[in-house]
């Protein structure tokens, strides 16, 4: 199967504890033991998508029940997608319209945990209803080694597409000729095998595409995507292709702009939830909330989709809990956001310039100006909002939690 699984955020601590319990001093050690790459194990331990088989094997090694710790989100059932989704007009309508146009490109951009994947899944579901074929790829599943070499990467890319469309893997190796450029091989595969075999249209969705931006292959890969998009304007076969790319940041890397998909196509930027949308989400989750509760919550976490949803889900499952209680403990290690906040904190710690910048933003009373690179990175983490050229900390929850840790 080509499915990928993620560890449920609530179980990440269990996984990490299991690591130590089983005598692995580090993720690297586990990687060596299993014969996986370090990034695969890192993804596993951090709740990021990992190939299904790897997930099971890693869980077994750690003595965990994989079905218990796996998160059921991306592979949510159709019903779940429909019932939990809160519309943010006119975004959904635009997406549905654009995907019908031959050779179209949709770019979905928002900070992490914003609901991009949900939107994308919904769009794919819509496409399937139109009898289109869909191929859903995620660049987080590509390993470091793969991303460091264009040929390896493009092969991986084609093989993933093959898997999604239930085409034989051999088709890729058969087409591949080392005397030709990798890009030619890839394009040939897409043209002669994939698009040939499809009668209606193909929606090719690439999630976390910004992963590739830090690798040298970025400009070639993106230029390739852009050339496919341009080709679709004139070539009958290629008109069947629709591209959907999903990312948190088109970080400030001076890509020659005529050679990337980041400045063409339909830009979709997801905003925060409005009060009305939060009310709607609560209703969908079958939680009784009034305006007052919503405002209280949003005063703490703004309209951050994940933070809002988490609170709602938590209160739904626990009858005795009150919103006040949840909010009081929110910025602490006993709160419902502890995993999320800790991950955020760890990320900042790993990159001191981000920590410094966040510290400055917290200390400031109004919006401040940061280096573009840092601005984009903090924005994609969801830590800050943009205010013209300046940034401001996104919500009081972050201000409290991060401020506390950064000042010690």
């Amino acid at each position: 199967m080509g499915r990928s699984l993620k560890v449920d955020p609530d179980c990440i601590n269990r996984v990490k504890a299991a690591l130590h319990r089983n005598g692995f001093p580090s993720q690297q050690a586990l990687a060596i033991d299993l014969g996986f790459s370090r990034s695969t194990v890192a993804n596993f331990c951090n709740g990021k998508p990992v190939d299904y088989l790897n997930f099971v094997e890693a869980s077994d090694k750690l003595g965990l029940n994989w079905q218990e710790i796996a998160l059921k989100s991306d592979s949510e059932t159709t019903d779940a997608i429909v019932s939990n989704y809160v519309e943010r007009p006119p975004i959904e309508t635009i997406c549905s319209e654009v995907i019908l146009r031959p050779g179209s490109l949709i770019r979905i951009k928002a900070p992490k945990k914003w609901g991009k994947t949900l939107l994308k899944n919904r769009l794919l579901q819509f496409s399937t209803k139109q009898n289109y074929r869909t191929a859903n790829l995620n660049l987080l599943e590509a390993e470091d080694d793969t991303l460091n070499d264009l040929d390896r990467f493009l092969r991986w890319f084609c093989i993933r597409i093959a898997k999604e469309l239930h085409l034989p893997k051999d088709g890729v190796t058969e087409i591949w000729d080392e005397d030709d450029p990798s890009t030619t091989n890839c394009t040939m595969y897409l043209e002669e095998v994939v698009l040939e075999s499809i009668s209606t249209a193909l929606v090719l969705s690439i999630d976390d595409i910004d992963r590739v931006l830090t690798y040298p292959i970025a400009s070639n890969f993106l230029a390739l995507l852009r050339s496919w998009h341009e080709r679709a304007r004139v070539n009958k076969l290629w008109k069947k292709l629709r591209l959907v790319i999903v990312y948190s940041t088109d970080a400030y890397i001076p890509l020659d702009i005529n050679r990337s998909p980041f400045n063409v196509g339909e830009p979709i930027e997801l905003p925060e939830f409005t009060v009305k949308q939060v009310l709607e989400l609560a209703k969908k989750r079958q939680v009784e909330w009034d305006l007052d509760s919503v405002e209280k919550l949003m005063q703490r976490v703004g309209g951050h989709p994940y933070l809002v949803d988490r609170a709602i889900c938590h209160l739904k499952d626990r009858a005795g809990e009150t919103l006040e209680n949840v909010l009081e403990l929110a910025a602490t290690e006993a709160g419902i956001y502890r995993n999320h906040l800790r991950d955020l904190w760890l990320t900042l710690q790993e990159h001191s310039e981000l920590a410094e910048a966040t510290k400055a933003a917290i200390a400031a009373t109004e919006s401040i100006r940061l280096e573009p690179n840092i601005t984009y990175k903090l924005y994609s983490l969801g830590v800050v909002k943009l205010d013209g050229n300046n940034v401001v900390i996104r919500c009081p929850l972050y201000r409290d939690y991060l401020g506390d840790r950064l000042n010690n």
Binding site: P181, A223, E230, R233, V234, N263
Partner: protein, 677 residues
């Protein structure tokens, strides 16, 4: 009133052939007619002028006229360490795919293994393309400038194009083959060999911006969204100069989001342009346009200075005479300026406002003076130590960095340079110690020899002359480096008496040794001899040593001579930007104002003191001395409770380095004790 549903503007990317908002220009017909007649045509100008849209549109027209066209995107083949063999094969595949040629390309190429890639391509054209396709063929190649990024020379490709035209004389089939090139480059950028270049036999298609009489199609989208679409459009053009991207973008904004709140179209468009395009342009530039222009100007560090300089001239003189110099042509390629009636002018009012004199001045000051070394060092993976700056170059670079906010990589480069210099100095020191030891030994040996026997005088003489020789050599290189450095070393080790001697000697050897004066000042401060400290700091200041200004100011402040201190600090305020120096300056200015308040009691001083201390904390908010001063400021406001907060930070964080800091920490302890009692 209804508006046209289905009509939409597009800024960025090529317009589809049937796009309702496509503006037809003179170039459209020129290109179409030229290609139809079999001429080699090229459209080489700046980005986002509508080249790709022109290509798409022309291709459709040609196809409608029965011509077989192929649009070749070179970036799709890529530039990733390709060999010529791979690249030409990729090119051939593009043709196979485009014309749906019935051929097993790989087999065909295998059978011609012995040919060079260019020859294979040439044969492919003659034996496959011209044979399988019996109509007129036009090959439109976009992004031709991407060829420049390939690892191998590409003259052959252009020579081949020219060849195809030359072959028409002997082989009529070649009359059916026509090339069109599109890109952002000048002909000499692409090929310099004048005998093989096709650009001498081709037609250059100029692609200027939209003219008013050409933009009627754009009006259609405005119907229902404006009382007078034509007037709106005229206003838009007055701002964009007909620049295709900007014009489409503004039309789009108008239709999709704008509501007319102004009296006239002029005002409305002005407000729109100002708020949505010009202000905060860096964050509103989506899809990218202005940023691209900026990048094109600044990308090549060697050229950037000259481009900026030329642009500045164009701004100042509001247009200059065109001389067709290379730098002028490059500036035109950025899209920032254009040539009209023999003059070079800024392309439009938007660019005038965004890339104005302030912008130029700012960017010029940001250009690294050490860019070449820096880039070479970066390209070597930060390994090539020979690229690091030393001596005067390093000093100049460090001076330049003041007032700049640099990238992490810049700081790493400079730190690595400084580290290397320290290692170098230490090495030299060691060398000199070695030499002095040799000298001493030689001296001993000399005495020894004398005492031993007269008969050995000849040997002694040799040794003596040797030692004199060596001594002489050492004497020349010893002084400045040796004593100046050891003075610093000893200060750090807190061997104050010894440090003082070395510094004095260093100054004796070179009275203009500003570092030595500065260090000596620090030594005297530690010895609590403020008079002498002041004297030597003054000397360092007179010699232009930046850090000394701050120290001298501190001395004045310790004497309560606020005015002189502030005066001194203001002189360096602008110049200082290495974080430590900047911090010290700001903190001391804050202190200076506090001092003034204590003397004159004017509230302005107290506010200024607070401001500067806060500013210093922004540079480095872990530094306790600012908190110590801030606490005093707050106390002067009679907010003793709040002051305690700062006193705590003062006490907790302070690493006592100087006299005043000792005082402050005592005060801090006092205040905090009082509260706990």
């Amino acid at each position: 009133m209804s508006y046209n549903i289905g009509y939409h503007y597009q800024a960025g990317g090529s317009l589809p052939a049937d796009a309702p908002s496509y503006v037809v220009r003179e170039a459209d017909d020129e290109l179409f007619d030229g290609l139809l007649a079999g001429e080699f045509c090229y459209v080489l100008n700046s980005r986002q002028m509508g080249k790709s849209s022109l290509r798409v549109r022309t291709m459709k027209r040609l196809q409608d006229a029965g011509v077989a066209c192929s649009s070749i995107d070179l970036t799709g083949i890529g530039s990733q360490q390709l060999t010529p063999k791979q690249w030409y094969r990729g090119l051939i595949q593009e043709l196979v795919s485009c014309f749906e040629l019935n051929i097993n390309r790989r087999q065909w190429l295998k059978e011609r293994d012995d040919l060079t890639p260019v020859q294979q391509f040439g044969e492919f054209i003659r034996d496959v393309l011209l044979v399988e396709v019996d109509r007129h063929i036009v090959l439109l190649v976009d992004e031709i400038d991407s060829l420049i990024n390939l690892d191998f020379p590409t003259d052959d490709f252009f020579a081949l194009i020219r060849n195809c035209y030359n072959k028409r004389a002997e082989n009529p089939a070649y009359h059916r083959l026509t090339f069109a090139l599109f890109g952002v480059a000048t002909p000499p950028d692409l090929i310099q060999d004048k005998h093989r270049t096709p650009f001498n036999i081709g037609r250059a298609i100029e692609l200027p911006g939209f003219k008013m009489h050409e933009v009627e199609v754009l009006e259609t989208g405005l119907v229902g969204k404006a009382d007078n679409p034509q007037a709106v459009l005229r206003e838009i053009l007055s701002w964009t100069g007909g620049q295709p991207f900007l014009t489409q973008k503004i039309c789009k904004i108008w239709v999709e989001e704008w509501t007319i709140a102004a009296e006239t179209e002029t005002e409305a468009i002005e407000t729109l342009v100002r708020s949505r395009i010009i202000e905060n342009w860096e964050s509103q530039d989506e899809p990218e346009h202005l940023r691209t222009i900026r990048d094109r100007v600044l990308r090549n560090e060697k050229r950037a200075g000259r481009l900026l300089g030329l642009h500045q001239k164009v701004l100042e003189e509001e247009g200059i005479d065109s001389k067709n110099t290379p730098i002028e042509i490059w500036l035109r390629l950025t899209g920032l300026v254009y040539k009209t009636k023999g003059k070079i002018e800024v392309y439009n009012r938007v660019y005038e406002r965004v890339f104005d004199k302030n912008w130029v001045r700012h960017e010029l000051s940001e250009l690294r003076p050490y860019s070449e070394s820096f880039n070479a060092w970066v390209n070597s993976g930060h390994q090539d130590k020979s690229r690091l700056l030393q001596g005067k170059a390093l000093q100049n670079a460090l001076l330049w960095t003041q007032d700049k906010s640099l990238s992490d990589l810049d700081y790493r480069f400079l730190n690595a340079s400084q580290d290397l210099e320290k290692v170098e100095i230490a090495r030299q020191l060691k060398l000199q110690e070695e030499e002095s030891r040799i000298l001493a030994e030689a001296h001993h040996a000399l005495l020894d020899a004398r005492q031993k026997a007269r008969t050995k005088i000849r040997i002694a003489t040799v040794i003596l002359s040797f030692s004199v020789f060596v001594g002489g050599m050492i004497f020349y290189s010893w002084p400045t480096v040796h004593y100046g450095e050891s003075c610093v070393v000893k200060l750090v080790a807190n061997q104050l008496a010894s440090a003082r001697e070395d510094c004095l000697y260093a100054i004796k050897l070179n009275p203009k040794n500003k570092e030595a004066h500065y260090t000596l000042g620090q030594v005297y401060e530690r010895l609590r001899n403020f008079e002498k400290a002041e004297r030597h700091y003054k000397e360092a200041v007179n010699l232009g040593f930046l850090a000394a200004y701050s120290e001298l100011a501190r001395i004045y402040l310790l004497k309560d001579d606020c005015d002189r201190a502030l005066d001194l600090l203001r002189q360096v305020q602008q110049a200082a930007t290495l974080p430590e120096v900047k911090y010290a300056v700001l903190k001391n200015i804050g202190w200076g104002y506090l001092c003034q308040w204590k003397k004159h009691q004017d509230p302005g001083s107290l506010d200024s003191a607070e401001k500067y201390l806060q500013d210093s904390l922004e540079i480095d908010n872990g530094r306790a001395s600012s908190h110590c001063l801030l606490a005093q400021v707050i106390e002067e406001r009679d907010e003793k409770e709040i002051a305690l907060h700062s006193w705590k930070k003062c006490k907790d964080g302070l690493k006592v380095n100087s006299f005043e800091e000792e005082q402050w920490i005592l005060t801090a302890r006092q205040r905090l004790q009082l509260t706990t009692q």
